[in-house]
Amino acid sequence: MSSDISNSGNTPQDNVPKGQLPPESKPKFWNDPRKRSLLFQILLLCGIGMVFYTIINNTLTNLDQRGITTGFDFISEKAGFGISMSLVEFTAESTYGWVFVIGLLNTILVAVLGIIGATILGFILGVARLSDNWLISKFSAVYIETFRNIPLLLQIFFWYFAVLRALPQPRQSIEFLGTFLNNRGFITPAPVAGEGFGLVVIALIVGILASWLTVRWAHKRQDESGKQFPILWTCVGLVVGLPLLAFFAAGMPISLDHPELKGFNFRGGLTIIPELIALWLALTIYTAAFIGETVRAGILAVSHGQTEAASALGLSKGRVLRFIVIPQAMRVIIPPLTSQYLNLTKNSSLATAIGYPDLVNVFAGTTLNQTGQAIEVIAMTMALYLTLSLLTSLFMNWYNAKMQLSER
């Protein structure tokens, strides 16, 4: 910034060749825009530093005066409470630091699931709204206008209290192909990896690597010779077929842990709690409406002449979409799409309203209340959301740069 200022603020003397200036005409430092801007920037920096110093110092003094314990010692203390759902082992013996990790993982889980769901549904909606079919385009329009105009919190309440609460008790569960649906959640058999399962994993990795190499080779060949290669089917064969082959060769090393109704609830199997389902549904349906509009805008931004020119070259309809429309539309879609992903991640903190154990619920909620260290806990939570958001935008910016028009 400083170099911009100094360039634009050249004094006439700077243009005079060196050596011809009389020494006494050197300007006073406040007349030299470079030095002056430097001075102002130093002053501004001092001012900002002072504000932060005052805020922090003031807070610490006040906390001390009121006898409130400060510091981060609580992180290694035992938490002593239970959490309804955790991706990794959690007991009441775990520490508050571990509670933070559990909450973080649960937040990431619902955010990632939500992003996947909202992206798929959003793209379908966006394309559907541009459909020539009157029914499909109107359905999409009504969907978008309805769901993006109802507050998200109400949608979460709707799914949780109105829909999922109406499900039957565990004993009257709705059974479907060995899975159960009741008001405690969705219970499915859990796959348990047996001996020799490592082989399948290795096969999967090999398959992915091999298809990556194939894609590279096929692209190179096409660039050089113009010959096309059936990439899709080769990759499907490698990624799905190879592990399947390994699976059967190793003697089908996966057993299913079937849920059983014992006592109050189902034991065994995998339980997806209704809080997660409600939150995921609400986040997906709400954000998809916005993504739908973004996608529509992106497609409309590609001029019709492009499509016509591509058709004139004899490309099929599918190829026009794949090679001409979508790559250009993506450039318009990605930046606002990033914002939607960030919004979705931050909106997932509404979980606390229905008791889904996300970061805000278990850390900025229960932990804050049990330890009373509001400032530390809230600061950690805010820093984490900031980090998550920055990582998401970093990834999306990278993807955006990759999708940009490569100019030659």
Partner: protein, 337 residues
Amino acid sequence: MKKTLITASALMVAVSGSVMAGTLDTVKERGAVQCGVTSGVPGFSVPDDKGNWKGIDVDMCRALAAAVLGDNTKVKYVPLTAKERFTALVSGEVDVLSRVTTWTQTRDTQLGINFAGVNYYDGQGFLVKKELGLKSVKELDGATVCVQSGTTTELNLSDYFRTHGLSFTPVVFDTNDQAASSFDSGRCDAFTTDLSQAAGLRTRMKDPSSVGALPEVISKEPLGPVVRQGDDQWFNIVKWTHNAMLNAEELGLTSANVDAKKAESKDPNVKRLLGLDGPKGKGLGLADDWAYQIVKQVGNYGESYERNLGSGSPLGLERGLNALWNQGGLQYGPPMR
């Protein structure tokens, strides 16, 4: 720009300084006591159908307003969730927290707050549906339990199940009301909270008679009013407001007979309580008749109990631990002299 920055930071210092001013002066200046209550626990603090707050914790706030301002209606009620309560108190949003808050060492020593007495001795219990035919908490192995977030209840639950080798899944809600209604609609097999609150919340369930409490009481829950640390005068006022209500019951002073007793009683204890003799209101910085106003406008502790929790309420709770010390309970008001 620098000038604005300095002014801004000076302002910040000034603002944070004014919070530390005496709570009594602030209350008098404002003309109302700001009282942190629950967002709705029958018997303790709940708005009735006309929007007036009722309950034993609400009576504590009314008694404070009667003692400090001479008018028990000068209370501004601030409903708080369990998570918000201490931050609201410490930041000066409320003057006193009268909100079924359990007195524990951590809270008393690390949060910058002080407990000014115990207005209800409680214990944690479990509500279950009667149709399950359960006899004991020990039969709850594998159950899903609804509980309020950020409470001692949440910790006791986990402790009890762990020490008895039982497994459970907690479902944690912001308010006790949400936890109770989630239990009612079948999300959980059991609902745990302090027994008195459970009795109150049970009255709101779809079919209260189908819900029963298990016999075990798994913890001590002394509930009482809380104030900010570092303001001893206000701490004393809250403490002695409660003590005055206990002493009034012990001396047989009620809102109905207090005027007559004031005119004719020869009992030196009664005279001291009513401010005709003894320490009066000087040490507290209050009017001499502060305790008289409490008894006249709000009543003694027993009256408040019967009206809100006991025989005069839908809860119908026995006095139990909350009877006076000379009637087999724990409520003991230090002498007013």
